[in-house]
Symmetry: C2
Subunit: 109 residues, 2 copies
DNA sequence: ATACTATATTCCCATAGGGATATATAGAGC
DNA sequence: GCTCTATATATCCCTATGGGAATATAGTAT
């Protein structure tokens, strides 16, 4: 398996995708989709965000391939494209756990 | 191994850390550090960024625990704290590979 | 003390992006 | 055709943030 080389252009592409994920509102949307596909309105209700903003967030997530869409009459169903988001969340959660541990150790000293 | 629950507060913490990584300049700095510890000046030379900006980026990366620092006389040596950044880059590169593959398939049809 | 170097910080500017509101588009049903 | 609903887009406001220049700070050397 050949890895893509980490050139500045690739960093730019990675950064663009990380920016898409580095937003609590979008993480919340993706987390909701983890339970299964949802319409925009359902996502609005689940997240408490405004409809226009949910649409904008979904557009970003769709453009960068994090969600898929399926139109059915008036409704548009969005679904997770893959689980890479949560692989990344797991890595970050491990870091958070380590931070906590380090802080506790510091307090204990 | 108990996982941290993905609450809105946790998403906010994750998002804060992803924002730190979602910046080409900082990815470039981290990539340079992959080869070993470097002084600020060396990072300025390696990245072509201004000294003030490198210092600012390093401050962010240090605050969020992505780099460590070691002072030695006038110099401050920065080093990678762990490899989670590149675990994430790997995930993103896999995604980029898939995107390429999908685009090729689309062109072939 | 002064002079020099490495790093950090501050200030300013310009841009990007999120939220709210209003409007536009698309499809269903009558 | 008209109306209603779901989604998308446009506009405005405001904040956050990256880059550059200047300045401050810290350490070395003489």
């Amino acid at each position: 398996m050949t890895r893509i080389a980490l050139t500045p252009q690739v960093f730019s592409l990675i950064s663009e995708r990380l920016k898409a994920l580095a937003e609590p509102a979008r993480l919340q949307i993706l987390d909701t989709l983890r339970k299964g596909e949802r319409t925009v309105t359902e996502l609005v209700e689940a997240t408490g965000l405004g409809q226009a903003n949910v649409s904008k967030h979904l557009r970003i997530l769709f453009t960068l391939g994090f969600v898929e869409r399926r139109k059915e009459g008036l409704y548009v169903y969005y679904a997770l494209a893959d689980d890479s988001v949560f692989q990344i969340c797991d890595i970050m959660c491990d870091r958070l756990g380590d931070e906590l541990k380090a802080r506790r150790k510091l307090l204990a000293s």
